[in-house]
């Protein structure tokens, strides 16, 4: 009897350690290798760890306090809803401030080389400030450092660079917060043991890779029975996203209960794929997207939760931060910054400014947003 118990215990222990071993070894494709920090399963907020300022500083920047400044905004790419919304926020803030001359320009494809060239040209043309959303955190760093070395104020939003290549970064939502919102909503819709797949941009895009890594960690911690099937790349391309989502639906059949869209392009395309496959209601779509793109699917009841922050606010905050930096009001070591109608925003992670908690759009509230 005793022996049996010990043996059973031993087998369980071995099985358990093997399984945890497997769980450790299995990381979701598309995540990055950086350490993760999953939030608590309930809504306990994470304690903010104090960290010294780790951003860069422009050399010999002229005194710009209160003076009119020329600013260029270079997003990952232009001509998509999401960055149209951020540049609207930037323009709104510039209008409110009254002493900023801002324009948005950038590549028509999310291409790191073109983005670098754009920034390089604007450095030559002699702007006072650069706002950017990086296509690659490391590749963009040399050209941003060059901007700093010419005394230009550099502030990032949406997608970060290495910290020392810019002064501040406006963080739209912490990665673990977004990951929690996505996974929790998916679990609510497909149940604790449902299987899902992910449609992302590319495996190396910094934001998406970070979210996926955090989602993997959070799901492992709080929803361990959910089954991740596959992550597919779809650039930020409409047609490709639709095709990839359709392929997933056909490949996994009834096993597939949910799709995550990791970009503002992939989510509506996935919803469209589910609609066209006649799987509304049997395959849940949860993802990051702008409300306008998702309204048709949310209204039809095909999509229940869309997770995002307000990109107009994000652009707005970035512009205010840049102005505060140029004026010398936001210095290393500050703990908060005033951002117009958004009020006081908190400084986190040394040199980042947090926009707020992620926002979940549902059938009840989506009508109130237009971007």
């Amino acid at each position: 009897m005793m022996k049996r118990t010990i043996r059973a215990g031993l087998i369980t222990a071995v099985a358990f350690s093997v399984m945890t071993g497997i769980a450790w070894a299995e990381t979701w494709t598309g995540g990055d290798d950086l350490p993760t920090n999953p939030l608590a399963c309930d809504n306990t907020p994470a304690a903010a760890a104090a960290k010294p300022y780790d951003g860069g500083q422009p050399t010999n920047a002229p005194d710009r306090k209160g003076k009119k400044i020329t600013v260029v905004d270079i997003p990952k790419l232009i001509g998509i809803g999401y960055f149209n919304a951020t540049s609207k926020g930037i323009a709104d803030a510039a209008k409110e401030l009254g002493n900023v001359d801002v324009k948005t320009d950038g590549p028509t494809k999310a291409n790191i080389d073109e983005q670098i060239t754009f920034i390089d040209n604007y450095i030559t043309s002699g702007v006072d400030g650069i706002l950017f959303a990086a296509n690659d955190p490391v590749a963009i760093a040399p050209v941003l450092k060059k901007a700093l070395s010419k005394g230009i104020n550099v502030v990032g939003y949406d997608a970060n660079s290495t910290p020392d290549a810019r002064q501040w970064f406006v963080n739209q939502a912490q990665f673990n917060g977004i990951a929690k919102a996505l996974i929790d909503n998916m679990a609510k819709e497909i149940g604790e043991d449902g299987a899902f797949a992910i449609v992302t941009s590319t495996f190396t895009t910094p934001n998406q890779a970070r979210w996926i890594a955090e989602m993997s960690a959070y799901a492992g911690k709080c929803h361990p029975k959910m089954k991740w099937l596959e992550t597919v790349e779809a650039q930020e391309d409409n047609v490709l996203s639709f095709n990839q989502a359709t392929t997933l639906i056909n490949k996994y059949g009834d096993e597939l209960k949910g799709l995550f869209g990791m970009t503002s392009v992939a989510t509506p395309a996935s919803a469209e794929a589910v609609t066209q496959a006649g799987k509304c209601g049997s395959i849940a779509v949860v993802g990051l997207a702008t409300p306008n793109a998702m309204k048709p699917y949310v209204d039809k009841g095909c999509v229940k939760s869309v997770v995002l922050w307000n990109p107009v606010d994000l652009g707005y905050a970035a512009m205010y931060v840049l102005r505060a930096v140029a004026d010398g009001d936001l210095k290393p070591g500050a703990t908060s910054v005033k951002a117009g109608k958004l009020g006081e925003l908190q400084v986190i992670n040394g040199s980042e400014i947090l926009l707020g908690a992620p926002y979940v759009f549902t059938k009840d509230n989506i009508g109130g947003f237009d971007f």
Binding site: T124, S125, V138
Partner: protein
Amino acid sequence: MSRYLLRHEAILAALLVLALIVLALQSDRFFTIDNLLNQGRLMAEVGLVALAMTFVIVSAGIDLSVGSILGLVAILLGVFWQKVGLPLPIAMALGVVVGALAGLFNGIIITRFRVPPLIATLATLALYRGLAEGISQARSVRGYPDWFFVLGQGEMLGVPTQLWIFLACAVVAAIVLGMSTFGRATYATGANAVAARFSGIPVDRTILLIYTASGLISGLAAVIFVSRVSTTRSDMGTGLELDVITAVVLGGTSIFGGRGTIIGTLLGLVLMQALKNGLALAGVKGDGTIVVIGVILIATIIISNLVRRDVDG
């Protein structure tokens, strides 16, 4: 030949001078040494590949796989160095060798299996990019030592390092294409492959060498590119082939083969880069710049064709 030189290249040179003057008037920051050298830095990778592409197109071929070779070599450079643990100089050399092999493979498909270059390199465009994505496992390689950045971010005698490399390669390419037996074999192959074969010109060997060189130089461009942006990604060089072919065709090389010069390609390159940079400095947005480049490409070729018809007619 010299009469032809007077035509397209002269028109292009005039256009370039005109463009430079107009752009300089639009922005006082355009015609500064700093900006021009910086543009040279940005142009070097496309420029290097365009030199080889001139040979390819003169031989009546096309190489669409150059951007994918660049991506593949970039990834392999990182993998050889970080994952395999080879010293970086050896990893760089091996990367360039792989580029050459990738080009050689293109050449073998084209000469041995008689696959049209467009189809062959369209296939390897997908193949090499797929390999790059697969090998990289979607991870970037970063953290190169500082000396490596000299190649892409440093300068020698005040001129960007890669511009020296590019100029050296351009001189070699101009001499080989314009003055050597190999250059004449390239023109003959492109003008009429059958006639060239009957004249005892080693057509297949010429084509093999050209595609190998195209791969090799794409590999070299990859090393410079990685050094310039200090990271490797599997999507590097996407769409590079289009910029390269645009520069070569703008430079007067006939897409049907048998015609074209390195000088023309250089003029085409500089014109394209000057427009991209100058228009940006003049406040034209990115989408507007692409439109202008498209219009200029069509206009130059039409003008050149009209003039040629007059002279020939």
